[in-house]
Each structure stands twice: as structure tokens, then as C-alpha cells.
Symmetry: C2
């Protein structure tokens, strides 16, 4: 079932060449969906090796965002950190100085609401539309086109982007003006951080009580504790699979953004503060490049020694 | 789909009269499922008014657990606090002094692992079988017979109880010896406490950022933050419905049990400690008889005043 919440409009996919910048774990899957849908695609990624799959599947390579920009009417970006977003949009080889008036830029990265606002304002001055459109659903959701997409920015831009965003997932929500997609994503990350904390603590308790953790997942996955993380990430913990679906380093960045924004709003969010602290400790302990399920490592390291 | 994990055996429902003690929000639904399945039922509840629905549907009334015990081959209990469990099983008008040898007692209450062990040992000395079998899935799960049931105790007792437990829900897991069902339930409650904290903090953040909370539920309920609580309890928060599916006072009791057990295991579980503290504050602020979703009230009370 496909659900769009926002201004109605575009029923048809926009024509023309599409650009995609950032071919990491998730970007790669999304670029694949665009190619499969028949879009002529131009790609750029910081390391060219990441683009090889897309190029083999028919995408063109661009040497920089600035070189990619004028070739496309619609450009998606999905990079790592806010400073990467800033460089890709506003830097000397960035998109905004070179994008064609009337073109539409959609940032799928989780980044700061303030930067999303700055990009939208800078773009508007040049007759370019920009949306912040972070996603949730993880590597699995990206691969299976089952993402939920939280969009902030101009309503007319939303109407144009929506039919293409539908290739990435069934749930597309327009949250309001520029930056509001990022704010919604912060809410999402706050929930995930607390849920992951609960899962790791439940597994630590289970170990202490001598319970079989596999049985615990069976008995708890269908009740009041059911969650995407319990279903998807807890089994990876039990398999010892800490490969990144979503990087600890990126999650740390998200939680720091959320915590800073909450402070600005004078909100007391102790669960977020604790989650941010634990993930920061986890990154400092050498797990920055693991997936978020590696939070378990922090608890495992603190388990009392068996005699 | 029905999943049983544990020793195989009983394919048929056990015959004979069934007892049910404790007809609160959840017990009432479960007694209803037994009546619908055709079991002759004897009920007892601390307040007789709670039993009126069951009596109207054909159940017999007993004046005390001691009076109920000898009339039944299989007895379920679902009461409030560990001290209630203790009284119902071990007190002067309790089950154990009067239950028939060979009968089977199944406690569905969330209680302490140590008490579950004590009951099982006392029962065994009299040739009675006792299981701890706390459930998860909330009021909705009880009504729709969609609970998951975490069972601790003797394997032969599990085999006898399982076909009847199937009337309450599709997932029935034997976790091991007496008390292990309660330990599994503690893991479940740890996860729920952290998840609820994340949901309330996300809603507080959404308010601060000026997001429509209904839209937030739409965009986050299908992604990485998806959870039973987000799906089931967050909409109640937005409707201002704080009626108990599961009481704050009972959840406080569960979290205190979990925290005490974790301390005994020398585990450092900061998320549980924070959740326990917040729910204790919530109860102290006058919300003990609300549902667990009332945690929102604690955050709401701390929101910065709008100018």
C-alpha cells in the first residue's frame, strides 16, 4: 500500500536525466531503483569504486557535483555528514552554483535542519528548488524499496519529487517547510536510539538470567516489545554480525544534532542524552564503522566476568 | 500462524473444570476465551463486580482461591502485584493448601522469578504442578487472543498447559525452569520502557520543532523506529486517551523487579534505571492508575512554557 501525505499533484514520473550523488550502502540501492525504472542516470561518489555497479548497469559518471549539475533536471544526494552535504551543495565544486534554473535537488541525507533551510534559501535565489527528504527503513528498506520518506520544503517541489520518491518506498510524508523533514528524522532517530538501548539491556539481562537469547527473540518479537530493531537488528547481534546497515558514526552524528536541537528548544530529553552518550562511547571504543546494532558491544564489554 | 517452542506433547485440550483468578483488564478477556472454547469455568476476583461479565456468560463464582482450588484440574491466575500472587498461592485462603494433587496451576501475572520458584517448589512437595507464564501483547492482544506467552517450569507441566494457552495467543515459548518465564518477561518490560521513553521524547521534540505529531506517526511507523508501542500507544497519547491497557503502577512494579534482579546479576543497565526512575516519578505525580502511555504526561509537564 502506498501512502502519500502532502499536496496532491504529479501522477507521472518526471522525464529527463536524473543525478545521484553518494553511492554508499543505501544510495547504491536507490540508484539501482532509478536505473530499473528506466531513468537516464548520472552518478557521482567520493570514491569512484562505489559507482562501478551503477556504471555497469548503465549510469554515466560525473567528475564532480558541479559537473553533474547542469546535465540533470532532478538530482538526489545521499552523503554522510552535514559537512559533506554542505560541500556537495554549497562548496566550490558543488551543485548550487551550476544547477540549471528550474531543476530540483533532493537531499536524502540525514543532516541538520538549519543546513536544509540554508540550502533551500540559497537555491530559491537562483530559481532552483531544494527539498530535505531523509529516509528510514535501513539497508533492508532501501534494497526492497520499502523506505519511509520525511520531506521538508516547498509544496510545489514536493509535488514534483513525489512520483520519483515512490520508487524508494511506499510512505512519503510532507512535514512542512524546509528543515522539517530533518526534524522528523531526528524524532525517528530518538526513538531508534532508545529502542536499541532497550534491546541491548534486555539481552544483557537475558545473559545474566541464563535465558537462551534466541528463545527470547521468539517470545518477545510479537508482543508489546515488538519493534523493527528487535525483528531486524537483534538477530544480527546474535549472529555476531555487526556489519553496517547504518553506521555508528552516522548515528552518532544524528543523535548529536538531535540533542543540540533539543537543547535549543529547552527540552529535557534524558533518554536521548543517554543514547547519545552510549553511542559516542561506542564510537570512541573503535566501533564507528560498525552498524548501529554494535551497541551490544558496549554492554558485552561491561558484563561481569564469569567465574 | 501458531508457534510453540518447547517440549512437544499435548495436542488436545485438557478436560475438566478450569479456574480463573483475577478478572482485571486482561484476565477478563482471557476468561472469556476459555468460556467461548466451552470450558466449565469457576472464577474468583478480589472485587466480585469484576466477575459479573464472566458469571453472566456461564462461569461459577468461588468465594476464595481456597474454595476454588479443589473444584478445578487447571487453574489460571492473573492478579496485580507479587504480594497478591503470594496471597493467592500461599496465603491462608490460598490455592496451594487446597489444590488437588495432580492439578496444574498457571500464573499469568508478571511477578518475581524468586516467588515463581518458591511456588513451584511448594507445589511440587504436594504433587501439584505450577508454571509461571507471564504474557505480552497488552489489552488488545488479550482481547484478540494474540498474546505471546513466556513459560517457566517443569516440561511435563508445559506440555499439559500448552493446548489451553493456545486459546490466549499464537506464540508460546518454554524458557526453562521455574522463574524463567518471569525473567523473559523482565526482558520484555526493559525493552518496552526504553521504547516508550523514545516515543515520548520524539513527541516532545516534534512539539518543539513545530511538527504535526499525527504526520510524524505516519512517516515513522513503517521504518526503523516502528514498534508495537508506536503503533498502538502513541495514537492513544495523541487522542488524550490515558486509560489503562496496562497500569503504570504495575509497570513500576515490573521495572523495580527487573532493576533489582539486574543489580543482583551485577549488570549496569542505565536505560532500565532511567525508565524505572521516570515511571516512578509518573506514579508519584498521580498517574499510577493510568496506562503506560501516560509517560507522556511527565514530558508534557516539563515542556518549556510558550510565550
Amino acid at each position: 500500500m502506498s501512502v502519500t501525505i502532502g499536496p496532491a499533484g504529479g501522477q507521472k514520473f518526471e522525464g529527463g536525466v536524473v543525478g545521484f550523488i553518494g553511492l554508499g550502502v543505501m544510495g547504491r540501492s536507490l540508484a539501482g531503483h532509478l536505473l530499473k525504472a528506466g531513468y537516464p542516470l548520472v552518478v557521482y561518489s567520493r570514491t569512484r569504486a562505489s559507482a562501478e555497479g551503477a556504471i555497469a548497469a548503465g549510469a554515466q559518471w560525473a567528475a564532480s557535483p558541479a559537473e553533474l549539475a547542469p546535465r540533470c533536471r532532478l538530482i538526489f544526494t545521499m552523503v554522510g555528514l552535514p559537512r559533506d552535504v554542505e560541500e556537495v551543495y554549497l562548496g566550490p565544486s558543488g551543485l548550487l552554483p551550476k544547477a540549471a534554473p528550474g531543476s530540483l535537488l533532493v537531499d536524502l541525507t540525514t543532516s541538520t535542519p538549519a543546513l536544509a533551510q540554508r540550502i533551500a534559501e540559497t537555491a530559491a535565489k537562483r530559481g532552483i528548488l531544494a527539498l530535505d527528504a531523509p529516509v528510514t527503513g535501513g539497508d533492508v528498506g532501501a534494497r526492497n524499496a520499502q523506505l519511509s520518506i520525511m520531506v521538508g520544503g516547498d509544496a510545489a517541489a514536493f509535488v514534483r519529487a513525489e512520483p520519483v520518491l515512490r520508487l524508494f518506498g511506499p510512505t512519503i510524508v510532507h512535514h512542512g517547510s524546509a528543515g522539517s523533514g530533518q526534524h522528523a528524522k531526528m524524532c525517528n532517530q530518538i526513538m531508534i536510539a532508545c529502542t536499541m538501548m532497550g534491546i541491548c539491556e534486555a539481552l544483557a539481562y537475558a545473559g545474566g538470567a541464563g535465558l537462551d537469547p534466541q528463545l527470547l527473540l521468539k517470545s518477545t518479537s510479537g508482543g508489546g516489545a515488538a519493534s523493527w530493531s528487535l525483528q531486524t537488528l537483534a538477530p544480527r547481534i546474535l549472529q555476531g554480525n555487526f556489519a553496517p546497515g547504518f553506521y555508528v558514526k552516522h548515528f552518532c552524528k544524528d543523535l548529536a544534532i538531535a540533542l543540540a536541537a533539543a537543547k535549543e528548544m529547552r527540552l529535557d530529553l534524558p533518554g536521548l542524552a543517554l543514547g547519545e552518550k552510549l553511542y559516542r562511547e561506542l564510537a570512541a571504543a573503535g566501533h564507528a564503522d560498525d552498524g548501529t546494532q554494535a551497541l551490544w558491544k558496549l554492554y558485552e564489554a561491561k558484563l561481569p566476568k564469569q567465574n
